[in-house]
Symmetry: C2
Subunit: 333 residues, 2 copies
């Protein structure tokens, strides 16, 4: 038996489609007895509005895409993704909007642009963007608004929606924490210099050290991965064997760095203190556990959802929210 429609409800309630629609979409100017009859009929039939018909007539899809580069996911970076996804999905759900998952790394490169034009969604949230620069132009040219979680490498329009954590402030936090622990011979393992968040972390780190009167010149670069962190630490240690504190600007690089330090006979934290950045799961499972600058990933997802909902609904809202980073004290520093 087919799903009940508004006509069925109206027939049972003894009213017209229009009246039934008015009742069920919350219109108030309806006779209370008729309204009650409609409510009763709807309940009796288990009526639920057909979303396709509503969308077709109304113009708004009631869905937001979550664009995810699944191939970037592995057991180490998984929590990054999971946390943001959780925040975004819950934020959208709370706004009565369906989150539609779009794998960004599928072979058919034309599929996402086509989907953005299909009217099936009102907007999109891009969750990981390191490797999807090939999609960048398609996303920038999107007919529906896009919210970026973290700043991508591509040039964005001035009114683009970007939700980010306070990378600059996080750099300052790391510097101050190491200084407060009495460390004075410090080095930084920075991210790729063509990534704005990486540059902001360096800037914060340097500004804070300058203010404290500590040498800020020891710097090497990695690619945010574990192995690049190991390699970077080896270079840094060669140039500055007397270091007593290191800021690795991702947890994965911190993990790689600590392995190299331990292999070189340095104890962490007694000989060299190490601070990471992100606070993903590896920070709690490694030995020693990692002191790190925490990005509020779930909040970032939630704020991205709330922001794009506001934009879709035409409300005025801050399109570049920046969320605070915090220091999480554990064993490594």
């Amino acid at each position: 038996m087919p799903r009940p429609t508004l006509v069925d409800v109206a027939k049972i309630a003894g009213v017209s489609r229009a009246t039934a629609a008015r009742v069920l979409s919350g219109e108030t100017k309806v006779d209370v007895r008729m309204a009650a009859a409609v409510e009763r009929a709807a309940k009796e039939l288990g009526y639920e509005a057909n979303s396709a018909a509503r969308v077709l007539r109304g113009g708004r899809a009631g869905a937001i895409a979550l664009i995810v580069a699944f191939n970037e996911l592995d057991s180490l970076t998984g929590t990054f993704f999971t946390s943001v996804l959780k925040g975004a999905a819950k934020g959208l759900y709370a706004g009565e909007v369906q989150p539609v998952l779009l794998p960004a790394d599928h072979e058919d490169g034309d599929r996402i642009p086509r989907f953005l034009r299909s009217g099936a969604i009102d907007g999109a949230i891009v969750i990981l963007q390191h490797e999807i620069t090939h999609l960048a132009q398609a996303l920038v040219d999107s007919p529906v608004p896009i919210a970026w979680v973290g700043r991508p490498r591509v040039a964005l329009a001035p009114d683009a929606i970007v939700v980010d954590s306070d990378n600059y402030g996080g750099g300052r936090l790391a510097a101050r924490a190491l200084a407060d622990a009495g460390r004075r011979r410090l080095g930084i393992i920075a991210g790729p210099s063509d990534m704005e968040p990486a540059r902001d972390r360096i800037r914060g780190w340097r500004d804070e050290l300058a203010q404290l009167g500590i040498d800020d010149s020891p710097i090497v670069h990695g690619e945010f991965t574990l192995v690049s962190g190991s390699a970077a630490m080896a270079r840094l240690l060669k140039r500055h064997p007397d270091l007593d504190g290191v800021f690795a600007s991702s947890d994965l690089m911190a993990s790689g760095a600590i392995r190299v330090l331990q292999a070189a006979g340095r104890r962490v934290p007694s000989d060299v203190a190490v601070i990471g950045f992100d606070d993903v799961s590896i920070a709690t499972t490694m030995d020693p556990t990692l002191t790190t600058v925490r990005q509020p990933l779930e909040d970032m997802g939630r704020v991205a959802a709330e922001t794009i909902l506001a934009v879709v609904q035409g409300r005025d809202v801050d399109r570049r929210p920046i969320l605070d980073t915090t220091l999480v004290q554990r064993e490594s520093a």
Copy 2:
């Protein structure tokens, strides 16, 4: 300017709506010159079919829900979820169907049943089910087909779709691996006895030990969590201080168990070998790294997607696929 419709395409191509529709939906019985004109017009306008109209007319939504209990997610179990989600999302996407995320732990308990009735989706995949028994009845009564990844605690219809790994075989694998390593005084930290997968792991373990002529009586139960694994290990060790091998039927419980063993002065694996179950991220980051029985999580997600697509499309398919578990050899056994 509004999105182009089929009428616009037809007008530019100089044909009727029906002809344009025939061309764009792959119908062959159309004059090649007309077809070419339609294709050209569609490309020129950047035409993309309105999915709401297609759904309204066609009856099939082209979307499958992914029901996820986000509150169960944390940094330790995240990879379980992530892997299944990845497989499911890619499987659905490859089948030209949109994956719609549904948080199962939202306050509004009536929302998911309502959504299942809205016609917005053709089916659903349930990814984590430990804590969502309150939704069970709603899901069992669903008007659209449901695929369960892993067996839930609720009673299912005989034609229910359940994708599972070979828990029984995994139990046998664990027993054989410990026996092959020369261990003879073995114990098992089992899962809750009201969960069928937990019972299957026990059965496999016991059958294999019986066949090998090894005592299978040492058994304690945990709740699949890290702390319950620690507590269970403590009980097991108290009753059987001379154990030289332990099968913990989840990686988290294995992790908790190893901490207790080490605290009790036992070296792992030289004094006591430990095998886990799942192969989630903690297995690779703990020390020693964990030898474990691997569930093919991503494959389970993919198979769930393929199975429900087949059911939705009315194709004949195995509704209870069971995927092989494998032993992953690392340091702990």
